[in-house]
Amino acid sequence: MSAIRHETAVSTGRTARVFLYLVLVLFALFYLLPLYVMGVNSVKPLPEITGGNMMALPRAWTLEPWRAAWSSAQIGVQPTGLKPYFLNSILMVVPAVAISTIVGALNGYILTKWRFRGADWVFGLMLFSCFIPFQIVLIPMALILGKLGLAGSIPGLVLVHVVYGIGFTTLYFRNYYAAFPTELVRAAMIDGAGFFRIFWRILLPVSGPIAVVSVIWQFTNIWNDFLFGASFGGTSQPMTVALNNLVQSSTGVKEYNVHFAAAILAALPTLAVYVVAGRYFVRGLMAGSVKG
């Protein structure tokens, strides 16, 4: 009796699974299509694109568009390629991610293990900041950056992204540390460890998964940001703004192959972060969501 049921369960499971995989493969192909188009067209000479099929493989392979995108394409008025802007983005994203993650971790630590009156209010307000659209803060932010003398500079952009990011990073770390046993903190207190030593020696060593979540989240958001970069970048604009200027330029022929290469270049760092740390991402998200 039970054996028969077992068999039918397996066989229906099998057809369902075949169907499921079919659907998944189709979706994957659908999602990969743009990447394919970009990749293929970034290694073709321009006439092959303007004269022929976007989907076809290149007849004459060339890396020239990549070289041009990187170091010689006309961006605005200068033929610099994306290189200097890429550097700007790195100089912006590394400190911004590091600072917002560290501040988020400290906030989470304080909000769960050194609770004070009104801690929940503070946390609520920080959460609220996650829901404020970028556009609303543009003018007040411009004023503040101007007053601080940071307008149009990389430190200014770092500040903007840190301020915008700590709401999220605090949320991640607070939820993660809420599940961390308070008895451990108490034991460390009796052992004579102070505020920073408890953080450094007891909490941080087990914060890997959530730190990965925070870094990935912040990195992708800050790297891909266009609005803040365009508004406050000044002379040190990030990669996204440069890419826009390159693609939107109205003078001369549109070099689609260079545009494709440039777009891939702009996306590569986030891709790299996902490949390296992606599998911790889901794990960390789950860990952080267990207790709130």
Binding site: P181, E183, L184, R186, A187, A188, M189, I190, D191, G192, A193, R197, R201, I202, P205, V206
Partner: protein
């Protein structure tokens, strides 16, 4: 003045007072157990001694030094937590020496202290493992090691055995007792298990609803409980509490009780001061082991009274047989020898050891005799 003094100490969370006027003095080398049901405030009191919770009012001092407002690490105490609270990212060795490291003890001394403690607790072979790779009993030992290595004035234990299985709990209990006898350090130990309290302590504070109901040696607590709560909380099965009337016969107070069939039974008291209660209602407290079959009765007792009553249920438990009957309208448990011949429904002659009987005031539930 005691080694550890808790004087008129209270604790409030906001407007709610959860510990009321606690007054306990502990001598050096004592093993004090705080016992009581869940939520009575045991952990809170322990955390106040440790400095993990503020003292709302009153004073706690250790070795004559007032501890109010002193940081936990400066009180020279060590604590073992219910969850053991081992640092998951450190090895056993690092766990044990972390406190010494924080206090700036040189490495060589730390290594020496570690070796000593590891030998004492027989965990030498585990020193390089992480806590996640240990069994419950081994974690328990490591947690004790972390406390021992500091050589503190006072050890604080918060239900250290409650995460272990029954067998291991008994073993570790014996080991803690041995350790105390060897080291003679002052210990304050929290548990809700009355057997742990009885076996480990030199003195017990029974707590309920934020009050210390009684403070005394295990024998005092067991033989002369201050009130009905202490009487029924300590001991397993619990003490029988039977409504009764005091009547005088030939100038001696007796307890008048109705048995299962509605007959009146008279049991002579050994406590003469109950004469004042002539004609009034009391609660008669008698432990299951003071209600036996006649052959099992205590030969030392000068006052064994026979009580005939109908048996409702018998429960053989291997070493003893527990017999339930109805007395004064309440279920009453008697503890018989394992091979006592007794059947449900039968009328049986019980031997009540009235020397061990206790009388409580039914209104205040306080003990009135002996």
């Amino acid at each position: 003045m005691g080694f550890l003094e808790i004087r008129n100490t209270t604790k409030s969370y906001g407007p709610v007072e959860i510990l009321h006027d606690i007054d306990i003095s502990v001598e050096e080398g004592e093993f004090l157990v705080l016992v009581g049901p869940s939520g009575c405030g045991k952990s809170t009191l322990l955390n106040m001694i440790a400095g993990l919770e503020d003292i709302t009012s009153g004073e706690i001092s250790i070795k004559g030094r007032v501890m109010n407002g002193v940081h936990p690490s400066k009180r020279n105490i060590a604590m073992v937590f219910q969850s053991y609270a081992l640092y998951p990212n450190m090895t056993v060795g690092q766990n044990i020496t972390f406190g010494l490291e924080m206090h700036g003890t040189p490495r060589a001394e730390r290594e020496k202290a570690l070796a000593e403690v590891a030998r004492l607790l027989q965990i030498d072979h585990l020193l390089d493992r992480k806590p996640g790779q240990l069994s419950g009993g081994q974690r328990q030992r490591v947690a004790m090691g972390r406390a021992l290595v500091r050589d503190p004035d006072v050890f604080l234990f918060d239900e250290p055995l409650s995460n272990l299985d029954a067998k291991l709990r008994v073993d570790m209990r014996t080991e803690i007792k041995k350790l105390h006898q060897k080291l003679k350090t002052t210990i304050v130990y929290v548990t809700h298990d009355q057997i742990e309290a009885m076996t480990l302590s030199t003195r017990i504070a029974v707590m309920y609803q934020g009050y210390v109901q009684q403070l005394g040696t295990p024998k005092e607590i067991y033989d002369t409980p201050a009130n009905v709560f202490v009487a029924t909380f300590m001991g397993s099965p619990a003490m029988n509490i039977i409504p009764a009337h005091v009547v005088m016969r030939e100038g001696v107070p007796h307890a008048k009780i109705t048995d299962a069939d509605g007959n009146e039974v008279l049991l002579r008291f050994s406590q003469p001061n109950l004469a004042e209660w002539d004609g009034r209602e009391i609660l008669l407290g008698i432990r299951p082991e003071a209600m036996t079959d006649p052959e099992g009765a205590d030969r030392q007792s000068a006052n064994i009274q026979t009580l005939t009553n109908r048996v409702s249920v018998t429960e053989p438990a291997g070493s003893d047989t527990f017999v339930t009957m109805v007395l004064g309208g309440k279920e009453v448990v008697a503890r018989m020898r394992a091979d006592a011949l007794v059947r449900p429904g039968q009328r049986f002659d019980f031997a009540a050891n009235m020397e061990k009987a206790i009388a409580f005031d039914p209104k205040t539930e306080k003990r009135i005799a002996p």
